[in-house]
């Protein structure tokens, strides 16, 4: 087996679709076996924005990874449930033998209200999944990586909202900045073990999370039923490069670089895949 991450095992959260599935396929294509989890349900408060992934979505990720001749252990699990995440990691490692790469990707996006108007319930969901869920993921994997003694690469999915303030997305912005804090602390704690910790900061990614009418209205509040073309124009104004959004593969290629030994001395980095959005 050749490939840039051949012989390694990667644990990916939120792997049923979107960026998470893309990461699983890109890493599998380069030789990694995969441990995958996803909630596989709609979070009630999020459903008014976009539907959550399903168990069928996760099954499709399994099918696609296996079609690349790699192994995958996929479990329905909620990153808010520490015991469930720990069990998924344990079971995946029991089958696949080791763990090298962690991609804490699971997240939700709620938006459209000024921060002081956000409901307690919405705030709690976003922080519990996007921030506490990432900490649960780290807490579940780090003891194994240290004990294994062969280093590792932990990649936390933040956002351009983890660098700049995003109006009317206060909980999301706070959670994605919080992820950066986790990264910075853990990068310092774990460097001595040759475990690297970095964040990825995508601009809008063409996934169900943003390709929906509610997200379009974030940029076009006065337009009824905005079209994809109208949205593309509005999204383009956010970036420096003349593009509306990036594709999942663009984030996956950054994940692959950070996961591979090509970046063996890269740690503590806030890695932007943002079309120059944060240059503005």
């Amino acid at each position: 087996m050749t490939g840039r991450v051949a012989g390694k095992v990667a644990f990916i959260t939120g792997a049923a679709r979107g960026q998470g599935r893309s990461h699983a396929l890109r890493l599998a294509e380069e030789g990694a076996d995969i441990i995958a989890i996803d909630l596989c349900e709609s979070v009630p408060n999020v459903s008014r924005f976009y539907p959550g992934a399903t168990y069928d979505d996760l099954a499709e990720t399994v099918r696609l990874v296996e079609s690349l001749d790699r192994r995958i252990v996929a479990t329905k699990a909620d990153v808010r449930d520490l015991a469930a995440v720990e069990a998924a990691v344990r079971e995946g490692m029991a089958t696949l033998g080791r763990l090298d790469i962690v991609v804490a990707n699971a997240g939700i996006f709620m938006f459209g209200e000024e921060t002081h108007r956000v409901s307690e319930a919405d705030w709690k969901d976003v922080i519990d999944i996007n921030l506490t869920g990432v900490w649960h993921t780290a807490k579940s994997v780090v003891p194994h990586l240290i004990e294994q003694g062969s280093g590792g690469s932990i990649i936390l999915t933040s956002s351009t909202a983890g660098i700049k303030g995003t109006p009317n997305a206060g909980p999301y912005t706070a959670s994605k900045h919080g992820v950066v804090g986790l990264m910075k602390s853990m990068a310092r704690e774990l460097a001595i073990h040759s475990i690297r910790v970095n964040t990825i900061h995508p601009t809008g990614v063409a996934t169900p999370m943003i390709l929906n009418e509610r997200a379009f209205n974030l940029f076009l509040p006065d337009v009824d039923h905005p079209t994809l073309a109208q949205a593309a124009e509005a999204f383009t104004s956010v970036n420096s490069l003349p593009i509306p959004w990036v594709e999942s593969i663009d984030v996956s290629n950054a994940v692959l670089f950070l996961a591979s030994d090509e970046s063996r001395y890269v740690t503590g980095l806030q890695f932007k895949v943002d079309g120059g959005s944060t240059l503005k």
């Binding site: 001595i192 990036v246 663009d250 692959l256 932007k272 943002d274 240059l279």
Partner: protein, 289 residues
Amino acid sequence: MSGQCALGREAEEGVAVGKLDGKVALITGGARGQGRSHALRLAGEGADIVTVDICRQIASVPYPMASSEDLAETVREVEALDRRIVAREADVRDSSALADVVAQGLAEFGHIDILVANAGIFCFGNKDASDDEMFRDTVEVNLVGTWNTLHAVTPHMIERGQGGSVILTSSTQGLTGRGGDGTGGAAGYTASKHGVVGLMRSFAAHLAPHMIRVNSVHPTGVDTPLVNNDFTVKLMEERPEIADMGVNLMPVDLVEPIDVSNAVLWLASDESRYVTGVTLPVDAGFTIR
């Protein structure tokens, strides 16, 4: 899933396709060290190379600089990879010399897709040069030289209209001033490498509408003649506090040129097609210490 994997490494009948097939990279400071390593890594992925190096000593620099023989060795090694190379002796402080090299590169290859502004000097610890001389020389080579290089290459990229990738070699000293001691060698290096970040950000904004990306790499100490030389080894023995200052958080003393080249390759390739404005550390945790 062919769309998913379209930007991954592909193979046709077992023949690996290079990530940079058909591209041309201009690299400054290509005679040895990181610059040679970048030339070989990019050539190994299919790029043809245009490179310059001063190939002579600058008086305020306390270690031997590259030679014409070093540049000839880079040529030999790139050609051994079956790639073409245009190599010239030129000083990045001399903008008309750079313009000539770019013209020769374009005459040979027709286009330049990738720019790696790598040439730099490090006068730290030199007792035989004045602070003023060291400061000015370092800023002239590391910062004005990078400006000259950008100015020589990017108008062509804009005119051609097919995007591009520009990678500027900064340093951990482009992100922190740790170890500063008030000397011209230290302050000149740190000021020039911070200045490179300013150039990167300004040009990233300037060139984004043309799909030209601009990023900087920030190595910690790299095992090259700029760091690993008799002068510096002796300096560390005399002043152990300098060695302590240079300690990385990961258990590694120096990184290898290939580690910087792998970052350069990633930024040069289409795998990073929407990445611009990034300060990418290859520093084993130096800057988060």
